[in-house]
Structure formats: structure tokens, C-alpha cells
Symmetry: C2
Subunit: 456 residues, 2 copies
């Protein structure tokens, strides 16, 4: 960060508008411009109305939603919005002089990117829940916010209502963080919970998630880990103060996981969870070397994340000073997400009024270690013909690639057998080479299943 | 809050010292005065040294510990402190012009209260971990901080390293919070975990806690719930923006809990935890009516707090918008607590430099509902002579006081029997009257044990 002073030099302020006008000397009125009024936006409008007196009493702020931009003005909405407030012109909301703070709930890259950038350049703080935008264009937006000297707050972008970004940015600002592991996608956690607790197939669990509204008709973004990968990039950026983009995140989804994989994991004392894992694995030329990935993994049943069920989210932080920390709650849904947006909105509005902001600071560069170079323990699940010499041949392949076996369980399936191996720590490269060679063995049937094992 | 503007009017500042001097234009040097250098203080000094580059890089702040006040200058310390920094005169540290921010880690009421008050009046932000001070004199200190326009931050006072106060103050500033339940004392959670998992007696579990350094030689403050009660008062104050003192908290400890109570709870699907419970139960004359209490309670095994084991702490928040939230981590220990202090210190130092602060705001009054008027489900554990008519007599006493029984289990003990009742929701007054009358029954042996049951 170039200038730790977040106090505005009034004389030098050319782009920023003046502070919100004060109607009542003991109260500050702050105009809120809302971009997007779907589930979260409607819940926010509702919550602002419900909590108006509490907010004014506790903070001295009167938050008024003065403009709301929507795609179609005729669509029916969950909340009543006064005449003259609703518009389909989002850019006009951003420019409106009565709008002091902009809340961006449109999602996606454009036009959100342009609207947020414009708002910041106009000196208006922005609160956003847009993970896609931040995971792809965060660095330029953070810089724009600091240049303008206004807040860009995004608690709702990761983990819905869970306070996560603020604790990482403030409470843990100087914590020597080692690793952050999160269950940050409720849809996949719901699906895996059904498969674990009821032995449901992936397809049935997905259908159940869809019928409950937890999964989209096209569930790709959730089940293939794209949503979690965007969140992993944001977590990595905030936790390590370094630029990490969605494209830097290694990603695997859960659509190949079957109930047998989960049952085997259970017998060995593990549960299967889709994890976003962000860790510092070293330093290269003075820069932090990070590993950032999303994939299903086996977690010991007594790990705090293992008991995070259904559509709940949780983020587990391992720090050199703070030790183990877990933040747990509702990762999605209108009201939980609106709760996080409201916390940010009050913060931004108060700072706007006080002419200050929470600087994000310069983000350093990070070196991303490729997945091939990462080490882990692995669980490999193999169907083989049940005949003499097969185990020796399989073990030979492991040995050839230097992958050491910690345990093996064999289960008979008529004339076939299933072998479940847990390896000692090995690199992904060696394990993938092992799998390639295993597939070549005549006695191996079907594709071997691989799950990474996380130990505390 | 009278004035939501946290920006200092420089001209009107008579007591506050000027902002920290800038050595390097891109860096702000902030002098830290440390009061107390025990476990937490030493860990803080160590952590500040380790993380110096990271802090400067991310925040632009150079935090220098310029003065350290200790009780005895000759005592050996875990960290080396430069000559001239150490003193036994705490008041001199507070007044020292090179001290921009004061960190109070002495504990107890005096001289901490006077030192903190003086620092605030001098316009110096204060970071404290002192739960006793805040639970008894918080209101006057918060007012002094807001009057001076400086931060009074106290993340470390509740839940050690767990970010809890900042999320409650900022992220959940306007959340319609219904209830906060916390495992906020690691000593008692360790003792109850040993009793639950190993069937240990209370005395043996306490001895084990003492040998590990988790419990003091005189464990009263922990095991009788005084520590948790102070924390409950602070949580209530922050969660509901209302004045709640340690003396307002109903308090029971765990020293009467036996392994049989825990075993019975387990058979019924519950675990026993010492909980600090803070909830809004109504409104009286426009003021929030709160119930604030600390006592052992039975929690369903699938409740997220039920899996908080050993000396870990966790706080479970139920909000009207955010839903269920849990914050989990290390509630004590030098480095975890120092981590929380450091987060606050960076926040306070940055605000000091930017000439702003996080206002606490006026705390409203709360009405405290007495324990007698609270309603709960109860588990009552009774030893009776095993003879005809006893159950009818016992049931008659429940009925007489309008306490309705949800379930009963009977267990034979030679010529005696043990009856375990779970009641429907009843008031404490009626249940206590029931217990009084039960003790009068000739067939009842010993004192009936009572545990409140928490259901989701």
C-alpha cells in the first residue's frame, strides 16, 4: 500500500462526491443504489426496512434505498419498491447524485465490471456479492477502490452469510496463515451429504438438490467446481495478500464420485467433501508460493469440517499463531447473503460518512505451484480380476513410481476383487503416472478411482 | 450514538495527541505501549517481530513496541526486550508521547481500569483482552472511547483467537440476532470432554486439566462459571447493543455434574456442555428484554456445538436473517490470544493514523429477565426406592406444578431405581418448586439432579 492514510484530502478530491448530507444533526442519511433485485436484493430491501430503527439507533445511519436497477421493470418482485425508485438503467443508478453507496448484485462479469468501476471512480463505495467478477478482475477493482479512497467490500461473495472476508482482512491481517480449507459450495455439500448418509447415487442426490432449488437445471458451475474455484481464488487473494485468479485454481468436480467411493472412505474413517484448499507451500524469489485447488477429498471423520452437513458451508483456517479456526454457516440463500451485504453496507456507509475507508493495499504477486508438483496422501480404488499374482503386479507399479503404500484392503466381488490403497505422501505426478500404468495392466478392470486424503 | 462522524475535528482536539509521525512517506510508524508481558504479551512481542515485514507490506504500518510495563523488571521472560523499553511504571507507559496505541494485558479491574481510562482520555486507542474489566466497567470505557474518538478494541477478551467481537460489531451490526450460545471456557470444556469420552470423574478430569495447565490451582473462576459469565455479559452487550454487566448473568458451574449425568444424557442423544446463553426473549417498554445465563446444559449430539471438544471454544449465533452461524477455535493460550490482539492492534493503529475510529455507539438499556421466569425443557435425574406407587407420587408432584413430562426412563439399581425425566417446556420457577417437593417425598433418595435441555 502506497499511502496508509485513508483520510480524504478534501481539497484534492476531484472525482469523489461530497459526503452524504445530514438531515438531522444526529443522523446521517445515506442513499443506497441497488443493482439487481433478485433473491438477495429483495431480501436486502426487506431487511433494511425491518432493521431501520436498530441501524439508526446503533450506528446513527439512515440507509435509504433510493434507486434500484433491474433487468425488467414489469417482472413481479418479492418486495414492494416505491414508484420512481425502480429503473432498468443501471448506469443511471451509479451516476445518480442521491446514490452514495452502490450495492452490486447483478453477478457475472459485464456489465457488473463496468458499473463497479464507474462507481469507484465516482468516489462511491461498492458492496458486491459477485465472486465471478472478483475472481477474474479483483486486482484492478481493488486498485480502483484504493485509488479513489473508498471501500470495495465483498463479504457475501464467499460463504454467503458467514463472516469470513472481514475476519481474514482485519482480525487475521497479520496472521501467519498456513492453509485455508473450505466447504464453499452448498449444492455439492448437499449432494455428498445425501450420498454419505443415505447411500444415494450421485444422479439421485443431484435430482433431490434440483427439486429443492439447491442446484440449477444445468448444475455444471456447482458440481464441476467452478463456483468453488472462484471462491478459492478470492480466499487466496485475501488470506495471502496476493493476486490469485480463478484461472490459477486447479479444479475437479464431484460428478465421478460414486456411493462405493464414499462407503469405502467411511469404512476407513473418512468422509468425502468437495474442498477449496489454499495453502502456502514455499517461497520463490521472495514471493509466496501458493497451491490453490478445488477437488473432492477424504477428511478424517473427527475433522471439524467433516461434520459440516447438507447445504451448510464452513471455512477452516490453520494459522501459525491462531491455531485452528472454523467459521460455519449458511453459504447461500437470500436472507443469509443479504445479512452479509448489510454488514458491509453499514461499514461502507459509516466510512463514507466519516470520509475514510478500509484500504485493501497493494496485492503482491504469488507463484502458483502446479498440481503435478503437490504432495498428498491418496486413496486409490481399483477393480481387478481375482487371480494369483495380481496384487504383486499392482504393487510393482506403485513401487516403480516410488509411491509407497500405507495400507491396503481387499474385498471380493465374485471373480473380481476390489483393492483400496492408501498411500504415504507422494506427488501428484508420481500418482498419476502410477494410475496410467495401472490402467495398462490386463487384470485391472475399469478406471481406477482416486481421492486425495487430507490429514490434520 | 450522538455523532456518527468519526473524523476528528483537529481544531477541537484538546486532549488527543497528534497522529503518529511519518518517518518514511510510504510508511507509518506507530508506537505500541504494552501493559503486562505474561504469556499473551510475550507471544505478541514475538508475533510482531515475526510478522513485521508482512504487516508493513500489507498495511503500510510499522508497529514498534516502544514501552513495556511489567510488575517485576527482574523476572525472567520468554522474549528479549531491549534496554530502556521495560519499566515497572505502567502509568508512565500510557503517558509516554512515543506510545500511540496502548495494549492492556494486565487483567483484573485495577489498575487496568485507571490506565485504560487515562489512555483513552489522552486520545490513545486501547486494545485489551480484559474480560473482567469490560464485563464490569465496559459502558464507561466505551463511552470514554467514543468521547475521545479513538478505538477500544477487545477481540481477545472473548474466545481467545476466534474472530467473534469484530463479526458481531461489524458483519452482524444490524442482524436481528435471536440467540448466541457459546462454549467460551476451555477449562470446563476440557473437563466435560474427558468425563464424556472416558467416563472420568469430575475430580480426575479437573486434576488432568490442572496437570496440563488448562486449569488453575484454584479453579473456581473457571469451573463455577465466573469466567464464562463475564464473557456472556460482553457478548450480550455487543450482540444486542445494550448494557449488560457480569452481575446480570445467572450463573451455575459444572462441579456438581457427575459421570452418570453425562452417561444418561448420552443415552438420550445429548452431550453436556457449559454454555453461555444470551437471547432476546421480548421487549419491555421499548427496551430489549434479554436472558443472559451460564450453566451446564444438554445439547443434541447433532448440534454443531456438541462436537466442540477438549479446550476448544465456539460461539453459535442464531439470527433472523443469517440463520445459524458458528465461530470455532482456540479460546485461550498465548499465541491464539496474541493473534486476536494483533488483529485489533493493526486495526487501531491504522485508524489512529487515518484519524478515525470504529465508534461503539450509545448502548441502550436492557431489561434482564430473571432465571425464574425463563422457560426451557429440563432433564431431571432422580434416585428413588423401587416400590409400588413411587412413580405415581413423583408424577403427581410434576403434575401439581404444571410441569409436563415428555419422556421417562427407569433403570434398576438393586432396591433402588433411577428415574430420568425429560420435561416439556416449563418455567424455572415451576421446575424448582417441583424439585423442592420431590426432595420431600420419602421415596426420593439424595438430591435430584437437574440439567436444562437445549433444542434447536
Amino acid at each position: 500500500m502506497k499511502d496508509p492514510s485513508g483520510t480524504h484530502d478534501q481539497a484534492g478530491e476531484s472525482t469523489a462526491t461530497q459526503p452524504a448530507k445530514v438531515k438531522d444533526p444526529s443522523r446521517a442519511r445515506v442513499g443506497v443504489g441497488l443493482l439487481g433485485c433478485g433473491n438477495v436484493g429483495a431480501a436486502l430491501v426487506e431487511l433494511l426496512a425491518e432493521q431501520r430503527t436498530i441501524i439508526a439507533g446503533r450506528t446513527g445511519l439512515e440507509l435509504d434505498v433510493v434507486r434500484v436497477a433491474v433487468r425488467s421493470a414489469s417482472r413481479s418482485r418479492k418486495v414492494a419498491i416505491a414508484d420512481g425508485v425502480l429503473t432498468t438503467d443501471a448506469a443511471a443508478v451509479v451516476r445518480d447524485p442521491s446514490v452514495d453507496v452502490v450495492v452490486e448484485l447483478i453477478g457475472g462479469i459485464e456489465p457488473a465490471r463496468e458499473l463497479v468501476t464507474t462507481a469507484l471512480k465516482l468516489g462511491k463505495p461498492v458492496v458486491t456479492a459477485n465472486k465471478e467478477l472478483l475472481a477474474n478482475y479483483g486486482a484492478e477493482l481493488y486498485a480502483a477502490a484504493d485509488t479513489a479512497g473508498v471501500d470495495l467490500l465483498f463479504e457475501a461473495a464467499v460463504g454467503g452469510g458467514i463472516p469470513l472476508i472481514r475476519p481474514l482482512r482485519a482480525s487475521l491481517a497479520a496472521e501467519p496463515i498456513r492453509r485455508v480449507m473450505g466447504i464453499v459450495n452448498g449444492t455439492t455439500n448437499y449432494i455428498l451429504s445425501r450420498m454419505t448418509e443415505e447411500g444415494t447415487s450421485y444422479q439421485d442426490a443431484l435430482a433431490s438438490a434440483q427439486s429443492l432449488g439447491y442446484a440449477e437445471r444445468d448444475p455444471t458451475a456447482d458440481v464441476e467446481g467452478f463456483d468453488a474455484a472462484a471462491k478459492a481464488a478470492i480466499i487466496a487473494t485475501v488470506a495471502f495478500g496476493a493476486r490469485v485468479l480463478a484461472g490459477n485454481v486447479y479444479r475437479e468436480g464431484i460428478s465421478d464420485i460414486g456411493p462405493t467411493n464414499i462407503a469405502h472412505a467411511g469404512r476407513l474413517g473418512y468422509v468425502v467433501k468437495l474442498l477449496a484448499i489454499v495453502e502456502q507451500v514455499g517461497r520463490v524469489e521472495g514471493k509466496p508460493e501458493l497451491a490453490v485447488r478445488v477437488h473432492p477429498a477424504m477428511l478424517p471423520v473427527d475433522h471439524p469440517l467433516a461434520s459440516v452437513r447438507d447445504s451448510f458451508n464452513a471455512v477452516f483456517v490453520e494459522g501459525g499463531a491462531v491455531g485452528e479456526l472454523m467459521l460455519y454457516g449458511r453459504g447461500a440463500g437470500g436472507r443469509p447473503t443479504a445479512s452479509a451485504v448489510l454488514g458491509d453496507l453499514i461499514d461502507a456507509a459509516g466510512n463514507r460518512y466519516r470520509n475514510t475507508w478500509n484500504p485493501i493495499g497493494d496485492l503482491g504477486e504469488a507463484v502458483i505451484r502446479p498440481i503435478d508438483d503437490l504432495a498428498s496422501e491418496y486413496c486409490i480404488d481399483l477393480e481387478v480380476l481375482d487371480r494369483p499374482g495380481v496384487l504383486a503386479a499392482v504393487a510393482g507399479v506403485f513401487g516403480h513410481h516410488g509411491v509407497s503404500i500405507r495400507s491396503m484392503e481387499q474385498e471380493g466381488l465374485d471373480d473380481q476383487a476390489r483393492l483400496v490403497f492408501i498411500t504415504h505422501r507422494a506427488t501428484e505426478r508420481d500418482v498419476q503416472a502410477t494410475l496410467t500404468d495401472l490402467r495398462e495392466l490386463e487384470a485391472v478392470r475399469g478406471a481406477p478411482a482416486l481421492l486425495r486424503v487430507i490429514n490434520r
